[in-house]
Subunit: 254 residues, 2 copies
Amino acid sequence: MKNQYQGRRKFIQKVAVGTMASLSFPSIISNAFAAAKPKKIVIEKNSIILFQGDSITDASRDRNSMRPNDTGALGTGYAHFAAADILQQAADKNIKIINRGVSGNKVYQLAERWQQDALDLNPGVLSVLVGVNDYWHLRRGTYKGTIRTYRDDYKALLQKTKDKFPDIKLIIGEPFALPGSAVSKTWFPDFHEYRYVASELAVEFQAAFIPYQSVFDEAIKRAPEGYWSADGVHPLLPGARLMSLAWLEAVKLP
Amino acid sequence: MKNQYQGRRKFIQKVAVGTMASLSFPSIISNAFAAAKPKKIVIEKNSIILFQGDSITDASRDRNSMRPNDTGALGTGYAHFAAADILQQAADKNIKIINRGVSGNKVYQLAERWQQDALDLNPGVLSVLVGVNDYWHLRRGTYKGTIRTYRDDYKALLQKTKDKFPDIKLIIGEPFALPGSAVSKTWFPDFHEYRYVASELAVEFQAAFIPYQSVFDEAIKRAPEGYWSADGVHPLLPGARLMSLAWLEAVKLP
């Protein structure tokens, strides 16, 4: 799939820049963001913030609770950590936070449940992280979609969302993978295409882009890959917290 | 129970001081801490940090996982939030964090399981939050222990711990209660005795003291009690995050 997308190599070079070993967190996030040049999302009073995605977003959320801001309903991943900080800080702003990530989802599976699990919830801010399964399941032969399927399905999903809610604020997370029990070196460079497509869509839809791969690339200078994720796909506790801090960097609270 | 303890009234006046409505988090925590004058605990490399207490610490932790630093094993409360920040920030310091809070526990129940659930774990830092059930269950008639039982049992537990580990670093959390479905105004001033005893023991055992009641007293200037806790005893998501920030204020990472 090399050379399929103009600019891919340039993009990867750009986000991979990070020559200084950073020991304190803020500089790690700042370095990654300086490279990715994200848009800052302003969260308004009375906002409904919806997190969508796969298992990384799902993070064992309690399917029996549909209440916004509920501890169980938010899972124990990055969405939960971001929610806790937002709700603590913006306590008087009537913000509602919802998680509808579902383990194993690829883009077409988000699309299948998009009406009830996204549009019907009337989100003012929509955060999506999807892509690792689109590659992983193709690779292991349980899925036929290619990088082009990913791009076309993802674009259609975002377009449908924008058509329904022209003023919605979008946040797109970069798919990421670290060497781990589920991820070998042979994932790369093909997997990088998914990162690139996500960043490209973020630009196209004027979304904030959260460069998770770059954030983890910096983090592994502080502790080995296995500290942040055992399988290379699902973050462990410090990895999930790190992701939430990157996410929070992209928003401004009311 | 009025006038049972010398200095109680003075203490309560002291921690209740908080005349400025604080809108940003850091000043709230700082105000509460300025009043309580806590000791700062330095967390060393290779530390084992143990959280002990009742349901507020337990926070639905997974009893099937005993692994330190495991997401499920840490629950979803303040201990989990504090752990995530410590593990993210001090990624290369080989810190192990364990939660052994058990719902419903009073001090004597901590004592019953202290050998296996505290001493055997060889903690370098021990954080305890206990007291609300000691009052609540007495009040509702399912427990006979008084404020004196609480003080004597708690003191014996801490003394036993210090005898075994003379260099252990102790963190004592202030029991707290907010008006809520389980807490009426008639809890006060009697409940304040438990706060006072905890603070007194913190001084006696050179522990850091986390003034949770003062932290929540400040927080309710930003959003009503029910935003932080529905029943007045168990924090909701923003309340748990707030508690973790107060806890983290009392420690210095390696």
